[in-house]
Symmetry: D2
Subunit: 307 residues, 4 copies
């Protein structure tokens, strides 16, 4: 087993092929990654604020992790084995980013007003996350996981953006037990991980979820299969992810995700793509990650003629 | 109990204040509505096609139903009591609309090609819908329900469009047991209903679901509460719906839905709107209806301090 | 010559096939239409405000005008002969609509603030429009012109929306000397006109331009040619218009407009559609009307091999 | 005068802070940059095709050029002095990118068809560009100019994307005589230039314009003024640019561009921002660059009370 911690290697805010690997892992191997939270650890107790002067970026990652044998044109398969909070708490907060996330147009600045600052430290105990007096279930997930991007238009990427390489997808289904397949563009895949949430809603509408520092255990495999988009698979469901980076509308992201899912169904189950599209129209699900990312999914049992 | 059937009053393709009521119902009353399927009954057996020459429109409705006592500025509350298939089957099919739905841009026409025609008749037996050899659960829902629209920009509406008045929302949560509140713009609300699905996937990606003629039982109530958007409430969840008609992007529809949901949470639970937005960011869900409609929702148990 | 004035027939806020014609015009005939301004005449002098209580809608029209001989499936060709201000002034104002127009998301309401009210009466003298101390050229145009809509999804329409039937396009090229061809869906075309601007910027970004009551002289012709979208033609340029109603993104509206323009070039000049698309890529122009409407155009001289 | 040519330093496909400067220029200095065309020189004569196997990327740039004294938080001002074609011709071609550009959704692949390949070599003589038998005016422009990006979400960028740092804006107004101001994020600004067009239509709808290798003469200045978006200024017009990268819709790009333009008008002319917005609503123009980029502009003479 390999271990790597942000404490030793620092925080990264891009997914990039230009950086030296911080760890090496063999196919079939397990790696435990200790990640900082999305505030870069600036928000730990009441009164803390994000200090952009000191740390201008958000969403720090650990990486790149070099996967031995991963080749451009193939893929890397990451099984999320476990996610553990490291300090027994997480935080949700409005940032200067919240305004933009909620309206895109800088209308509040134009009006000389601003979104109020607010922050909550949330204790995590067993299966429960405490938000003031409310109890929410602990449903840990990895918000950002991706390889060094390369293909046109997506290129080197901010840790805030999703794309064909994965990245900041914020899909709650990337949780213990699920398997994420990512396209590989460089030798060694150059995997990045971070942005763990104790629980997150669809769309992460205020811009953050319960952000927590955590220890993530990942099983790594490789495949020669080429992928156009990340795939997520869990026991009962299979999925295909699309993102709206680069001027793509959400509607088009839904269309792309279902067309790709129909092709995956054809490949896996021998169901013709047009029938597959009909099945998606009847039983497909859409999961919204953040406002740039979503996933189309289908339950496997609906595809099995023997049931 | 009032009964009204498309057999007696014909098919309507707009939600309009210009038509005479086809039925009258009192607050607290039950009305059973027999609706035709979205193909206007043109697709019943293998080989059938949509004949646009004879029926240019899709998605026929029954209405307007006059709700006694419903006043402009108030709302009408419709509880879905029951949905029954009337001929034991439904159909899913590609139409000339499918091309546009899947790409919006008329690229196939420009390329002098076309989406292939395909159609499946699907038998419904008990809890099961048969799609070729596959078994899918029977999850009936009302695709289109709305009042005569009035407010600016939405005005009189095609039965294909969603809006503040409801309309073609295609939200699977509008199913037996749920309660839909719709804004009222005209005396009597002028309710329209149709487009029942035996089961539908998020986004209804091929343009149709399992479309079935059905009998729908609705309990009707009225309220003086004004609404900006339709609200759906079921046992465990409450929701708020937004639509993308009129050039609104899906991302903005997500934003609007969650802002409205936070206001509803404030109104119902006394949780301040900014906290409510955080709770949505942690535990909210997005349900995609079709490519013009979605709903934001939250489970009630997350809002209750006494649990 | 036929004359019709809003003073005699009242103000209409929808384009609808359900209303009785207010005037009849023969092919080749001239009709002079007196229209009210977009505020329904509520803003005439300093201190005036839009009173939604009295007039909830904006953008009143005159119509429907019945064009003799116009048949469904054909088109009506309207030449703008003249536009005259009737009271020597116009007005620009922020309305409650401005907020939505500028951000779509109701973020100001959520923040319990509002866009400030502001209004300017602008004198028009000869070729000049006075905005406080600034002089702007008088460039009159017809903001809204359309036929009674019919086809799916667009149906009966608010006077605020553009669509395949024309409507609220706000394209400054619809000015004296230009020819607008509109698809006909009903016997008599059922033409509506209104929303004259003394001058308007691309996108009409604050929600109104210099709105003025006016007298508009229109020459009416008919054609058997079917149209998918309105076409505008002036001496040196030809155009094709697309709209973003019904969840269509602006990017897709640009794509549709240019694909249609390439088809028009093929039809008119015998230049193959793929070459035509290249020519658009080299020399096409986009004119943004409002945030739901745009037009693609090309100068005719670029299409003529004999030059 | 400094000279730098792609022949000596190779082709770059990202704007990145990680690369060594290829030239140094002092404030007030002139630099002449020889750039390759967007096909990386692969399309020179009939029969040539883009060979993605050899060169996977498009839109090569020259850079980074280090501007002495340029500081993060300030800006760099680039005056386009001259653009000269180097081989007397340009080319326009469909690429595998064309499909995606025209529909975004991979519908042609799903249909197992493809956009036809087509290519034209276009001779340039004096003021004329020849496209088969058609004559078009020679209107040279710089498609891509930008600094090394840095701020969140935009980070290191593909040469195909526009952003706050400039990049692939494809705005025809960036032509001889105009002045482009770009925000600086790193010491030395790290300027990149490329993608020259002999003439380009709005939206560059087939994905390429008349792409030509060229020699570009640039005068470089620096300023301490911070910028949120690139500004372009020419004799009679001033502009402000917005881009749709990262899931931003075109409508929002129009809104952002005009809000920023109103703020610029306030700063330069002392006209209050709300009045400025009205003036934009009356006389502003929108220029569409490509499907990710646009600019809002206003003629200066409309802002001058002394005229």
């Amino acid at each position: 087993m390999v271990r790597v911690s942000f404490r030793d290697i620092g925080l990264r805010y891009t997914l990039s092929p230009y950086e030296k690997p911080v760890a090496y892992v063999k196919p079939g191997g397990l790696i435990v990654v200790e990640v900082e939270d999305a505030s870069s650890g600036q928000i730990r107790k009441p009164g803390d604020v994000r200090d952009r002067g000191r740390i201008p970026f958000g969403n720090p990652l650990v990486g790149p992790i070099y996967v031995e044998g991963a080749k451009p044109g193939g893929s890397v398969i990451v099984t999320i084995e476990d996610i553990k909070p490291t300090i027994g708490q997480g935080a949700i907060y409005f940032s200067d980013f919240t305004e933009r996330y909620l309206t895109e147009v800088p209308i509040l600045r134009f009006m000389r007003t601003a979104f109020p600052y607010r922050m909550k430290i949330c204790r995590i105990e067993g299966d429960t996350v405490f938000f003031d007096g409310l109890k929410l279930p602990y449903k840990p997930m990895v918000g950002t996981i991706g390889t060094a991007p390369y293909l046109e238009v997506e290129s080197v990427s901010s840790s805030l953006l999703p794309g064909r390489h994965g990245g900041n997808m914020d899909i709650p289904d990337i949780c213990p037990g699920s398997r994420v397949s990512l396209p590989v563009f460089y030798e060694g895949a150059l995997l990045y991980v971070g942005d763990v949430h104790a629980i997150q809603g669809d769309g992460e509408i205020s811009g953050t979820a319960i952000e927590m520092p955590a220890e993530v255990a990942l099983r790594i495999d490789i495949s020669e299969q080429g992928l156009r988009w990340p795939r997520i698979e869990s026991g009962e469901e299979m999925m295909c992810i699309a993102t709206t980076g680069s001027g793509r509308s959400f509607e088009d992201a839904v269309r792309i995700a279902f067309l790709e899912l129909a092709l995956w169904i054809e490949e896996r189950y021998g169901i013709d793509r047009f029938d597959g599209l009909m099945i998606c129209s009847i039983a497909g699900k859409i999961r919204v990650g953040n406002l740039w990312s979503l996933a189309a999914k289908i339950e496997k049992r609906y595809l099995d003629r023997s049931l």
